[in-house]
Subunit: 172 residues, 2 copies
């Protein structure tokens, strides 16, 4: 049996991490893999309730998710994380801890994200109504050398999905 | 393949949860099972750094460990928790979330624990030097109907271990 990997999606809010990771998770399951997607309400409730958007709490958020990915992946479960994970240092911590680690940078410019602004968050952040908002009032440190880089600005969702699956193919 | 279970050890500090869970984990591995033991420094560092011994934080501790056990066990990994987990309500939450759940009560009287006092913690707790110490200045709600009950007071470690493995045998 081929070994599992952690797929670590990173990118700003609204860039498309959740949508893409859900699609990849579904495809991996279709291919017979054991898969856990760490995203959304379940993770917030069970792992990260009460955390703020301070750097310290963001780091704790990533540290916990990375640990869970580590436990899953070493037991041959594909673990997908879709947390913003804005700080390079903590993503590198996750990479080092997990080993079988594929970083997927979901890129999109701030201008484009603010233009879409599906949840109206960028407008609020730019008006100062939300503090510590990644990309506006808080840093986002883009990956220097991710295994996979996709863009929701220059690619269609289908193209991004295909690029990810092409990269994963040798591991399936 | 037979399905995996979460083995939830509960009991007061010094009752023997860690020792027993390590031995059971080793035996399950020897029998070819995928096993994760959630105990000790790794869990404290990665999942629960900064938590206190308040009821709220103890509940968070158990909630996080239960969630990780849930993810592991549904992917056919035997997950062993050796946290004190003093509150019945949170153990019942873990049971409900995980489903394939075996509660192992490691019993020992306070008198006996205080007599052993390997780490000197009971002496300090009884002198009021440690606050919120389970069994002394904080409650321990013993399981009402655990799947397995062992005692480090009336049984040898070998007997407790054998009792647990006998219960697990049909699932192996």
């Amino acid at each position: 049996m081929k070994k599992a990997f952690t797929l670590w999606f990173t990118g700003m809010s609204g860039a498309g991490k959740s949508t893409l990771s859900e699609r990849v998770a579904a495809e991996l399951r279709r291919r017979g893999k054991a898969v856990e997607l760490l995203d959304g309400d379940e993770v917030r409730t069970n792992l990260n309730v009460g955390l703020t958007f301070s750097k310290e709490d963001r780091d704790l958020n990533v540290r916990r998710i990375a640990y869970v990915c580590h436990l899953l992946t070493r037991n041959n479960v594909w673990a997908l994380s879709a947390a913003i994970s804005p700080y390079r240092e903590m993503r590198d911590h996750a990479r080092k801890q997990i080993g079988s680690f594929i970083e997927i940078y979901v890129e999109c410019s701030l201008e484009k994200l603010a233009e879409r602004d599906v949840k109206g968050l960028y407008k609020k952040a730019m008006a100062g109504e939300i503090k510590n908002f990644t990309g506006v009032s808080d840093p986002y440190e883009a990956p220097v050398n991710p295994e996979i880089k996709v863009s929701s600005q220059t690619q269609t969702p289908d193209e991004s999905f295909a690029a990810i699956m092409k990269h994963l193919e040798p591991h399936l």
